[in-house]
Symmetry: C2
């Protein structure tokens, strides 16, 4: 029995709906109201296309549909691979009224979104995210782009989709590690400013990890709503929006230190949140019991609650110093005054950071 939720992301004239539920792929009633023209370019990757491209087609019957299949992986999120999307659009003579559909995870979504932002100076796009991470993260915020050899996500644009269609059926084929990685971002929303959601996750984590469709849809909807509330208040990334980086400064250091691809982004964010919690505990902002609740929930989501064994205190300090969130030379961290009480801190003592990093050295 299919069930759908609809969430409206309120951004004035760029507002759009997020549809969440099972059996949504291929249903014309979700896709078609958001198409302005009759030309549709589906962008996917070599892993996702064989699984879901055909399922999408019934909803696009009678339109001029073309597709481009990109190689799978963050290492292909480049200007060169982006160019394949432009080429496909031009070879098919797609005009400004066309719509791009991103069928895949975060990389496909980021690249398709940026292609849409820049093709003929901007055309429509629709997100069909097929990973838990992209369903709860890329669906909201309008960030699109590609990597540069000298930095991740350095080239891009803010470009909002016309609609997001998050079909929970696509999570059936998601590898366990990627389910966990997505769950890290779900837990993050609870930690930032939604303690009731955090408690709800404590109740339902085992069923979520067993891929209960109804509960997953509820977790996705709540995560998107939480993120949308933050983003709507702060669409262009200042102030509030930085709260979404909870666990990310520590996490980026782990990703860089281990070499990208070794730990999944969500795994690094999981450990990063545990580290932010530890530092908050040491600053007297977070109780020992809440610190333990966070660790326990991460473990039940099969996420690391510790940094990798090989990484030492000095390596963390060096890597965090070059983090792009360093503005004006001051390191800013998102920390916790209790579960659901995230805040942006730049007035902590260097010693508190070092002591935190030392605490994870065994």
């Amino acid at each position: 029995m299919a069930e759908q939720r609809v969430l409206e992301v309120d951004l004035g004239e760029r507002s759009y709906p997020i549809y969440i539920g099972d059996g949504l792929l291929g249903r014309a009633d979700f896709l078609r109201p958001h198409l302005r023209g009759s030309q549709v370019m589906v962008v996917s990757n070599e892993t996702v296309a064989p699984l879901y491209m055909e399922k999408l087609m019934p909803g696009l019957h009678g339109l001029q549909v073309a597709h481009v299949v990109l190689p799978d992986g963050e290492q292909y999120k480049t200007l060169d691979v982006l160019d394949r999307i432009y080429t496909a659009l031009l070879e098919n003579r797609f005009d400004r009224s066309c719509t791009l559909v991103a069928l895949g995870g975060g990389v496909v979504g980021d690249m398709t979104g940026f292609a849409a932002a820049s093709y003929q100076r901007g055309v429509d796009f629709i997100q069909v995210p097929t990973t838990l991470l992209s369903q709860v993260d890329s669906s909201v915020g309008g960030k699109t782009g590609v990597n540069h050899p000298l930095g991740k996500n350095m080239i891009g644009a803010f470009h909002q989709p016309r609609a997001v269609i998050a079909d929970t059926d696509t999570l059936d084929t998601l590898p366990d590690r990627e389910l966990s990685a997505g769950m890290a971002e779900v837990i993050k929303y609870g930690l930032i400013n939604d303690p009731d959601f955090f408690a709800w996750l404590e109740t339902h984590m085992d069923a979520l990890m067993q891929r209960d469709k109804g509960l997953l849809a509820e977790a996705i909807a709540r995560s998107c709503a939480d993120k949308a509330a933050i983003v709507a208040a702060d669409e262009k990334e200042a102030g509030q929006r930085a709260l979404l980086n909870l666990g990310h400064t520590f996490g980026h250091a782990i990703e860089t230190g281990m070499g990208y691809g070794e730990w999944l982004h969500g795994e690094a964010v999981g450990a990063g949140m545990a580290m932010a919690a530890e530092m908050s505990l040491r600053l007297g902002w977070l109780g020992a019991q809440d610190r333990e609740r966070i660790d326990a929930l991460l473990r039940r989501a099969a996420l690391p609650s510790q940094p990798p064994e090989g990484m030492g205190t000095q390596q963390f300090l060096d890597l965090m110093a070059v983090d792009k969130k360093v503005l004006g030379g001051k390191l800013r961290l998102v920390l916790l005054k209790g579960i659901g009480g995230a805040l942006i801190a730049d007035d902590f003592s260097p010693e508190s950071l070092e002591a935190t990093l030392e605490a994870f050295q065994k």
Copy 2:
């Protein structure tokens, strides 16, 4: 005696000034109020950099200034060359508060603008146009981008500069043909909706072609004001803005038919305006005397008022059919109901177009 004009382009919170006059390069008081941070990347090309890069420097004293010099020419307006700007920004560790300065003509402006639109999802840029064409055309409208092998300007964004500094001294080194090509766009603004300006140009064209600085500044200011009025009403290109394509559909056919680079864009637009005038005459919309006034002014600006001899009627029809302004299969042309009375027409008979093209065949 230096004299400056300031024109404010009114786009709400993205409003910006255009400074026009001689002796503006290197004056800190025009540049610095528009810098948000202390990092400045000057983007120029191999022709312009040796002439004017040093002159710009006094205005940037004490800031972190870097520069990147691109090869000169439309054939380098590509994603690959664009990447050099990103690389320079990243190698210099430029952050989101940096400003890009475009020092050059339209190609440099388009590429720098798009680099600014997309670096870290958007940073500031300032235009310092050094050709008449870019001073009157690229200064207003916010169009940025690069070419794709399958189409011109197919990749880009709308991104408004923080300021435009049009120094008429830079026109001293402009080749005669490029002065004429820029003058074609100046004449265009008179033809679209400013008959008084057209008459003013008839009075002053000889002095303008002799590069009288005061008159050039007045012509640039009037052109920018005319374009800004059209663009402000229609920032995202629908309706009104299409009037700016006067002469361009015929002109694009000439550029493509002759091979890009053979005729300058402005030269093709000059001939294109004469062709639009001829068609308007045949439709009974333009008097014979006004038709002759247009031809005469084009000739005094050393612009062609005829298409190239080698191009036949059928070649024009074929090339115009694929023009990207064909929407929904219908060819739209900007025609004239009198000088200063441009309108968008798609209800002309095919015969009137063919008869116009035939009239230019000798």
